[in-house]
């Protein structure tokens, strides 16, 4: 579908999208501030790991948002290849950028926690390795987009890469169950003991999860609006030059 037609369909919604992005981001930011207060002044210190366990409250939401971002990218990319609707490509690139930010945060938090728990910032164990691989795949997504003279080709190649790359997400989840791994088994989504956390820790965890997800959605909506504007300006300039 033509970019302008796509934009016309979402048409007057651009102001609405902007408001939606601002509201979500502000609510998310307030949630993050509450979460920071909970982490530093309210929640009890875990007995075995001590203060370092507080990284958990940031580590898991970062993982969730990274995988949510890459999952949305893969889904939008698949439908983009099918329908050729530019809006899906804008959504894919917005979610991929958010996914990269949160995946970077995930790797930083994981390394800091690993230093305390395992005595090293990094070890080539299955979950860590697969997560780093996912990060590199989506770094490649942005490189592929810019690597062709024909931007349409770049978008399509990147969409295929996103779909293939997203197959790594379920692998990351089962890696701790299928392979010999020093990474802890699931705590929240454990099949044997789901939500295996004390009450105050569970409240802090869910505050972080909800706050960062709202912030993620708000910033993705903002990034979508930016991508849309860039595409429309580029299209207008092309038309003016050819006229």
């Amino acid at each position: 579908m033509d970019a302008e037609l796509g934009a016309t369909k979402s048409g007057g919604g651009s102001g609405g999208m902007q408001r939606f992005a601002i509201v979500l981001t502000l609510v998310g930011l307030i949630g993050v501030l509450i979460f920071y207060w909970q982490v530093f002044f309210w929640v009890n210190t875990e007995r075995t790991m001590g203060v370092a366990q507080r990284i958990f409250y940031l580590h898991v939401p970062a993982a969730w948002n990274a995988e949510l971002g890459f999952g949305i990218t893969a889904l939008c990319s698949a439908i983009y290849l099918w329908l050729k609707d530019e809006r899906l490509d804008w959504a894919a690139v917005a979610a991929a950028e958010a996914g990269m930010v949160f995946a970077t945060l995930l790797l930083i938090e994981g390394s800091l926690w690993a230093k305390i728990a395992w005595g090293t910032y990094w070890t080539w164990e299955p979950r860590l390795t697969l997560t780093l691989l996912l990060w590199f795949i989506f770094l490649g997504y942005f490189m592929v987009r810019r690597s062709t003279d024909n931007s349409e080709h770049g978008k399509r190649f990147a969409a295929v890469l996103a779909i293939v790359g997203s197959l790594d997400i379920p692998l990351i989840h089962v890696s701790v169950l299928w392979f010999r791994s020093i990474h802890p088994k699931p705590v929240i989504m454990s099949a044997d003991q789901p939500m295996n956390l004390e009450g105050d820790m569970l409240v802090t965890f869910f505050t972080a999860l909800i706050a960062f997800t709202l912030l993620f959605l708000g910033l993705v909506a903002f990034r979508y609006g930016l991508e849309r504007s860039q595409a429309l300006v580029a299209q207008r300039l092309r038309r003016e030059r050819s006229a």
Partner: protein, 75 residues
């Protein structure tokens, strides 16, 4: 060029002067001796990284938007 060199010297000086514990490079022996209060710096660095990354991304988006508006104004 001079500014970059000055920044590099400053960064090197900070790395040399900052105590080991600030860089979370404690020896295993020291870690073992610590109690529940250990690893504060890891936590602070971790939580600061969240602001830096998410804030940095938000700032980069607003800069790209401003560039787009400038481009529109020029044309």
């Amino acid at each position: 060029m001079m500014r970059r060199a000055r920044l590099a010297v400053l960064a090197a000086a900070i790395l040399l002067l900052v105590p080991g514990f600030l860089l979370a490079q404690a020896e295993p022996g020291e870690l073992a001796a610590q109690t529940l209060g250990r690893a504060y710096w890891h936590v602070f660095v971790g939580y600061a990284a969240a602001w830096i990354l998410v804030g940095g991304w938000a700032i980069s988006m607003t800069r790209r938007l401003a560039r787009l508006e400038r481009q529109l104004g020029k044309d």
